[in-house]
């Protein structure tokens, strides 16, 4: 398998897992106050997967900046698409979990 395809898949599987965990965190948050810790842990782990994906992507950009032209393929664009989506979903999920926590507190009042 050629290098670029492997890099793209590495990005997709890392950021994809991160995205999935972000959504799972929100679902956990909805389950109530006692699940909030689990939800936070999911978001924490998601952040580290996102970072891994970013690392692979950054390496590509750095290589190109050094003058080593990188081959662009549709699968790489797809990986970048997933990367962006995960980044947005995780930043929003973080804020939404705050909101969910307030909702949970209000429900318990």
């Amino acid at each position: 398998m050629d290098g670029m395809e492997l890099i793209a898949f590495n990005i997709i599987s890392n950021v994809g897992t991160a995205k999935s965990m972000g959504i799972q965190a929100l679902i956990k948050g909805r389950e109530g106050k006692e699940k909030e810790k689990e939800a936070e842990k999911l978001l924490e782990d998601a952040a580290s997967f996102l970072k891994e994906g970013h690392k692979s992507h950054a390496q590509l950009i750095q290589e190109e900046a050094k003058g080593n032209k990188q081959e662009i393929s549709l699968i790489l664009m797809h990986a970048e698409d997933q990367l962006m989506a995960s980044e947005i979903i995780l930043s929003l999920a973080k804020e939404m979990l705050y909101m969910q926590k307030e909702i949970n507190d209000l429900k318990n009042k």
Partner: protein, 100 residues
């Protein structure tokens, strides 16, 4: 013949994995049909398949996919490392294991 369905967001990354799995199946002379599909098409087409594997990027949909298929066939998330390395061997082995 048994049919394996791989599902992800757009059916794009899974279709590359499917190509590799088909090669592995051919080499090992395992008779299976393998297909990739975006999650949105699943509700129309799952009936003809025997197992569903989902990409780690939609792992959170496992429960809703199980509901879609009315729990009639096994549904499993592909291990993130196997997916990232496109380890077709392992993914195929997982699918065959689930069918049994």
């Amino acid at each position: 013949m048994k049919k394996i369905l791989l599902v992800c967001n757009a059916g794009m990354s899974t279709s590359i994995l499917v190509q590799k799995m088909k090669k592995v199946a051919e080499q090992k002379s395992i008779e299976v049909t393998i297909e990739a599909m975006p999650s949105t098409d699943l509700s129309q087409f799952w009936q003809s398949s025997d197992v569903i594997l989902i990409g780690p990027q939609i792992g959170f949909m496992k429960d809703s996919i199980k509901e879609t298929v009315e729990n009639k066939i096994p549904v499993e998330v592909i291990n993130m490392v196997d997916y990232g390395r496109m380890n077709a061997d392992k993914v195929l082995a997982l699918a065959i294991d689930l069918i049994k």
